[in-house]
């Protein structure tokens, strides 16, 4: 796969709109940077980093959290967040 196609595929996955100039520029940098990262592949590395402590578990006690969605977004309707139709 050429890097140009790669950039488009990745931008699609990440939901990022790229203008045509950006596609070109990011494509070139992408190639250079991933090539730099690829140096790691030449090392034969082993091991795994894990946490030195386990996952804490919180008691199942509900708590009211007064959060006003009106303060977060102006796109509201009847208490719902309003978005453009899914299947436009």
């Amino acid at each position: 796969m050429t890097r140009g196609v790669e950039i488009l595929k990745v931008a699609e996955l990440a939901r990022l709109e790229l203008k045509s100039g950006e596609r070109q520029r990011f494509g070139t940098e992408f190639e250079r940077i991933t090539a730099y990262f690829a140096q790691l592949q030449k090392l034969s590395l082993e091991g795994e980093i894990t946490f030195p402590y386990p996952c804490p578990r919180a008691p199942d006690r509900p708590r009211d959290y007064e959060i006003k969605v009106e303060k977060l977004s102006e796109y509201l309707k009847d208490g719902y967040f309003k978005i453009p139709p899914l299947l436009a």
């Binding site: 790669e6 950039i7 595929k9 990745v10 931008a11 996955l13 990440a14 939901r15 990022l16 709109e17 790229l18 950006e22 990011f26 940098e29 992408f30 250079r32 940077i33 991933t34 730099y36 990262f37 690829a38 140096q39 790691l40 592949q41 090392l43 590395l45 082993e46 091991g47 795994e48 980093i49 946490f51 030195p52 402590y53 996952c55 804490p56 919180a58 959060i67 006003k68 969605v69 303060k71 977060l72 977004s73 796109y75 967040f81 978005i83 453009p84 139709p85 899914l86 299947l87 436009a88």
Partner: protein, 470 residues
């Protein structure tokens, strides 16, 4: 530039009634008036509120004490850390209009200790950068040389403390974002062991690497802030469950301390004066110095950036304009996603999300993300070996002093490489501190970076405090 006293000095001044809380705020206000328009250290300032709080404290005669050790001390907060009721922009257009509805744990702890929050400081967008030039609110200038960068991503926090716009500040450090700007601005930047300080309320960039860090004038101040913000937090499942150990900042280097110079860091320096500046005081103090090799350090930027970008691509998926922040509305939902994210993120953030998404994607995850995970484990193992021989490790904080604005911004890889000495400790989850070297290079400050074994934060601060006084 009017130099502010350190926190420790201020506490004494207030206690002796030689300084009032309002006077300190007024002084800061004055400095901001003179310096801020150039430095651009703050994104939001709350000076009226700060003054009102200070007035109240003066009226009630309350002073710093054991319960409120920071009573009346003005502190700046990097604008990727939530302060309830205040905007949290992360220097990104995508968070325009967002008001944080809660306090980060570190902010709540500072407020409980009596600190006054004076403002939210500038940063590279979502903390991605090493020069504070990637900000939707414009670059930060280094108050020591306005043609140069203040470092990044906590450039605003460092600049504010450096010019007297705050007594101390909180920054964050993912791969060097607090230590490097501290070094560039002649300050102390302390990155605690991963897990020592709660990340709840710190806007995630790379979760497995992010830590909140004090940026201060002295090691003592860093230790004081650290002692307030550190410790387990039920809101952050990755905090280490034990309370941090007590510190004794006696100021003496204990007998028999052995310090390792990271060979690769010194060997690769282009400017020998950097190494000399770092080492002079140690040599004079006759601390036992040995050379230690950590070969994997040379590829730390590759390992660090790969992991950080991958995690960033995940952490920044939530910015879609649906629940908060800026939305670019189009006819359909899909189009709205692409427009909102395409326009909301700046270049560097976009670049990192693209590469990070690639590194996790089907067919590439093994060659990229998983390889970086193994690199990380191997690097941590090399550090562990090194700490069997020495108590602390030493290197310059950055390969150069503060570089010029615009010098690296067109070359992302060159910019990434300025983290080469700071990324290793972050990857290995180790505590590391940058303190100003007594000598400058080309009139610019140089940072000494000292790294300690994981959770030896107290020992590191004690040692750094002694080194600072050499």
């Amino acid at each position: 530039m009017s130099k502010l006293p350190s926190i420790a000095e201020l506490i004494l001044l207030i206690a002796r009634e030689e300084r009032k809380a309002t006077e300190i705020i007024e002084e800061i206000k004055g400095n901001i008036g003179r310096k801020e328009s150039e430095a651009n250290a703050y994104i939001n300032l709350f000076l009226d509120e700060a003054l009102a709080q200070a007035k109240q404290l003066d009226a009630s005669g309350s002073k710093p004490d054991e319960e409120k050790p920071l009573q009346g001390i003005p502190i700046a907060i990097k604008d990727n850390i939530c302060v309830s009721g205040k905007p949290c922009t992360c220097a990104s257009r995508i968070l325009e209009g967002f008001i944080a509805p809660y306090d980060a744990t570190v902010v709540a702890r500072l407020k409980d200790a009596g600190a006054i929050i004076v403002g939210k400081t500038n940063l590279d967008e979502f903390a991605m950068g090493s020069s504070n030039e990637n900000s939707a609110y414009g670059p930060v200038q280094n108050p020591l040389d306005t043609e140069r960068v203040a470092g990044g991503s906590s450039g605003g926090s460092a600049a504010a403390v450096a010019y007297g716009g705050a007594v101390a500040a909180l920054g964050s450090d993912t791969g060097g974002s607090a230590r490097q700007p501290a070094a560039f601005c002649g300050l102390v930047g302390f990155r605690p062991s991963y897990g020592r300080v709660s990340r709840y309320g710190l806007v995630a960039f790379a979760s497995s690497l992010d830590q909140v860090c004090p940026i201060t004038r002295t090691v003592q101040d860093a230790a004081l802030i650290y002692s307030i913000i550190a410790g387990p937090d039920p809101c952050d499942s990755t905090t280490y469950p034990a309370e941090p150990e007590e510190m004794d900042l006696a100021g003496e280097i204990p007998e028999g301390i052995k310090v390792g110079l990271i060979k690769e860091c010194f060997d690769d320096l282009e400017d020998e004066r950097m190494g000399d500046a770092v080492l002079r005081s140690f040599r004079e103090a006759r601390v036992e110095l040995v050379e230690v090799s950590i070969p994997l350090v040379r590829l730390s930027v590759a390992g660090y950036q790969l992991l950080a970008m991958a995690e960033a691509s995940s952490n920044l998926a939530r910015y879609d304009g649906i629940r908060y922040g800026r939305r670019i509305e189009r006819l359909g939902l899909r189009e709205t996603y692409f427009a909102t994210r395409g326009e909301g993120f700046g270049d560097e953030v976009t670049r990192r999300i693209l590469i990070g998404t690639f590194g996790l994607s089907e067919g590439y995850i093994d060659a990229y993300y998983n390889t970086a995970l193994r690199y990380r484990a191997a690097l941590a193992a090399e550090f562990e070996e090194a700490f069997k021989k020495v108590d602390f490790l030493l290197s310059p904080t950055a390969p150069t002093p503060a570089f010029k604005l615009g010098e690296k911004i067109r070359d992302p890889l060159a910019m990434y490489l300025s983290d080469i000495f700071t990324a290793p400790a972050a990857l290995a989850a180790l505590p590391a501190i940058s303190i100003p070297a007594p000598d400058k290079v080309d009139g610019l400050p140089v940072g000494i970076q000292i790294t300690a074994p994981r959770f030896a934060d107290a020992k590191l601060l004690e040692f750094a405090h002694a080194v600072e006084r050499l």
